[in-house]
Structures are given as C-alpha cells and as structure tokens.
Symmetry: C2
Subunit: 239 residues, 2 copies
C-alpha cells in the first residue's frame, strides 16, 4: 500500500504548473500501487518523479487528454526515467504513443478503471477520462471551470465541441466532479451540475456558443509552435 490512502482504494493528487496554469493528476490504486499521471508537464517531471518515489507507487501510464498547444508533455521524459510507464493518447490525436484509446475504451491500473470518452472540438483527439466508481471526470480543455478550450487553432471547431460537452459530459450524473487541464483564476475543480448551470459559454444554445467562440479574438498561442510538434511524439523529438 502507498504511504497514504484515503480508504476508498484511490490515491488522488492534483498538481499545478504555475507558468502555464496546467493541472496534472496523479492517481494510484492503493491495493496494487499502480499509478497513472494525466497531463504531466515536462518542466515538472523531476517533482513528479520524486513524489511517485515517496508515495511508493509504480507509474504504469502517462496519459494526455490531448495534444497540448501551451506546454510540452512530460510523458516522454517520464518514460525515459521509468521504463514501466507507457504513453497514452487518443486514436484520433494524430500523435505517437504506446497505447491508443478510442471512444468508450477502458484503461485499467490496478483495480481502478478509466473510461475514455471522445470529446473533440478543441482538438480532434480530445478525450475525457471518467472514473465512475469515484464520480470523477478529467475533461482536459473540453470543459474547464466556467470556461472551455479555444476552437480557433489545431482542429478546433465550436459546433463539435458543443456536441462533445453536451453529449459526453453533461450527460454524466450532476454530482460528478470535473477536473480540468487548466485554470487561470484559482479554481481547482467544478461539477457537472455547476457547469450546466453557470458555464458562461456552454450553458447557452449551440448557436450562441458558436457565436461566442467565433468572436473571442484571442492572440496566437505563445508556445504552440514548439509544443504541438513535441507533443505529437509525447514530448521527445528524436534528434
């Protein structure tokens, strides 16, 4: 058993990368010690490796909710340090990984199960990972606290994103806790019920949503030209 357990079979840690306001999630089965990281950041790999060692868990998967445009994934560097770790991406991402997940595929670590729900619209490969046993959903950039990912670069499409969130996330039970890939205002989580009611974009009609997203006039993402090519190969570009 890891050094810490909350008694429900799951060890859960939310981690933050301040420069890009990215959340990384460490999840471990407290029976078998098998662990996964969702959306690790390359800058934080040393921190994450130390925590994994201290908590005495074994990293079996490094997952990305999508091919990020704002930071380089830590998956490749984690794999170099821990050969037991496999990289995971959506089969629609266009990226390279050890394991590809399609819509409604499951991924197991120890006695714990993640369900992969395809939630494209920010990118083609965006995936929401749901843990029904614990009422948790990791939504990446598809749905954030009172916000959502941009739809004006990569394969962004507001109509697709609206359908994804309404059909794959808003159909989850209302009390399910939502953990996003980013937050810029200091929120750490939300719930399905809250976003259905208060999300300033996604609580609107589809036409209103498309209109909002098409008029955001956001600047070109600072790190996209370095991040996307690296993230298509899980963070490690062969020299």
């Amino acid at each position: 058993m890891p050094i810490t357990s909350n008694g429900n079979g799951l060890l859960f840690r939310q981690l933050f990368h301040k420069d890009t306001s990215t959340y990384t999630y460490l999840l471990a089965c407290t029976k078998t010690n098998e662990a996964i990281l969702i959306d690790p950041v390359i800058d934080c790999v040393e921190r994450d490796l130390k925590l994994i060692k201290e908590l005495d868990v074994k990293l079996v998967y490094g997952l990305n909710t999508h091919v990020h445009a704002d930071h380089i994934t830590g998956t490749g560097k984690l794999k170099q340090a821990l050969p037991c770790c496999k990289s995971v991406l959506s089969d629609k991402s266009g990226g390279k990984a050890d394991v590809y997940l399609g819509h409604m595929d499951s991924l197991k670590f120890g006695n714990q199960t993640l369900e992969a729900r395809a939630t494209p619209g920010h990118t083609n490969g965006c995936t929401t990972y749901v843990m029904h046993e614990h009422s948790l959903a990791f939504t990446g950039d598809a749905l954030m606290v009172r916000a959502c990912g941009r739809t004006d670069f990569q394969q962004g499409d507001p109509s697709t994103l609206y359908e994804s969130v309404h059909k794959q996330i808003f159909t989850l039970p209302p009390h399910y806790r939502i953990f996003p890939a980013h937050d810029y205002k200091g929120f750490s989580e939300t719930s399905v019920a809250e976003e259905m009611k208060y999300n300033p974009r996604l609580s609107k009609s589809k036409d209103e949503f498309i209109n909002i997203m098409e008029n955001l006039n956001l600047p070109y993402p600072k790190r996209i030209d370095a991040s996307v090519p690296a993230n298509l190969v899980c963070g490690i570009i062969d020299e």
Copy 2:
C-alpha cells in the same frame, strides 16, 4: 442543499491566489448550506463571493489560520458584502476579530465541526483547524508540503514551531489529509504520514530543525509592512 454535494455532508473547494501562492478553502455543510472560508485573500473576494452565490451557500465565518505577512486577508471585505459573516482568529493572535478561538475550542457551521489546535511558532496565533469526521487538517503556515513557515519574523520561534507540529499535527492519524496555506511548487495537499517521513525539516531532530531554520538567510518579506497591520484588523483599516 447546495448545487453540488459529494454525499459525505461536506462541500469542499480548494482555491488558489497565484500572486502569493495562497490557498483558500471553502467548506460548506450540505445539509444546512452554512459555509466558511479559511484564509481568504482580499484580491480574490469578488471571485469567492460569486462562487458562494453560485453554490448557493451562506457564509457564516471567515477564518484566518494566522496574521499573514504576505497577503491581506479577505475577511473584512467579505464581512462588508455579507453581514452574516463573522471573522475568526486565534485568541493569541493579537488581532481584532468577531470570534476568538483558543486551543481545543470548537467552531460549528451547520452539522460540521472544526477543532482549533494552537500551533504557534511561525506566529503566536497560528492555529491548525482539524475536521476529524473527514480526516482533514488545515495547517496554515505551521506545516506545508515538505516545508514549513519561516520563524525569523513576527513572533517566529523554531523551537516552538517544532513542538507545535510534533505534538499537535504529527499526533493525528497518519492518513489525515493536510491542506496548507501556501505552496510554491504545485502541490495541493499532503498527509500526516508523508510529512512525518519526508518533511526535510520537521522529520529531523529538534536541534537539527532549529539549526536549519536559523540558517535559511531569507530576504525580508516583500508585503509584510502592508499585510500585518491590515491583517491585525481582519483586512480593513479604519480611515
């Protein structure tokens, strides 16, 4: 009932102020909707008021774990917006508040209970709030993830801090989750077991701890001259 509930009677939200890396905690009884904020930050009061309104909870207390030296508390501003809210501080803090808590006093909100444990050493009034029913402890600056508060200003004293942590926090059950007032590396929580084993300062002997704390050579805190006088009166200085 608030819009969101995890089914265990407690609504819990961790909030972050990026500029000062401060954590604020919103806790609510899901039966009665009564809520408290621990360590609110004045810069985030608008965000917090909006969340309180959206979650449909009633703020009854604004607590501070201590008289902070790095940011101004939001308690005074929250009280102006929500007259039902009372400010809470330790009876040893030297500050002004509506409610003073002594060592082992309890504070109730709805069906939920906080136990106040005096944990001086960073300041005289430092208090750790424990919720036994949920295995949670809010340790302020007394104990942070792999770290602890400074002991070289206000009423800081390393010997006192060591005794506080070892007698009041490390005696809690090992699985209790620890939520600090700050983190600078992206950690959101820890546990009693982890800090007893891995805290690089407090896992040492008392003499070693005192030696470490007396040789940190830290710069004078940037915001202390504005923060401490304001926080002694819960953030609102009468003109």
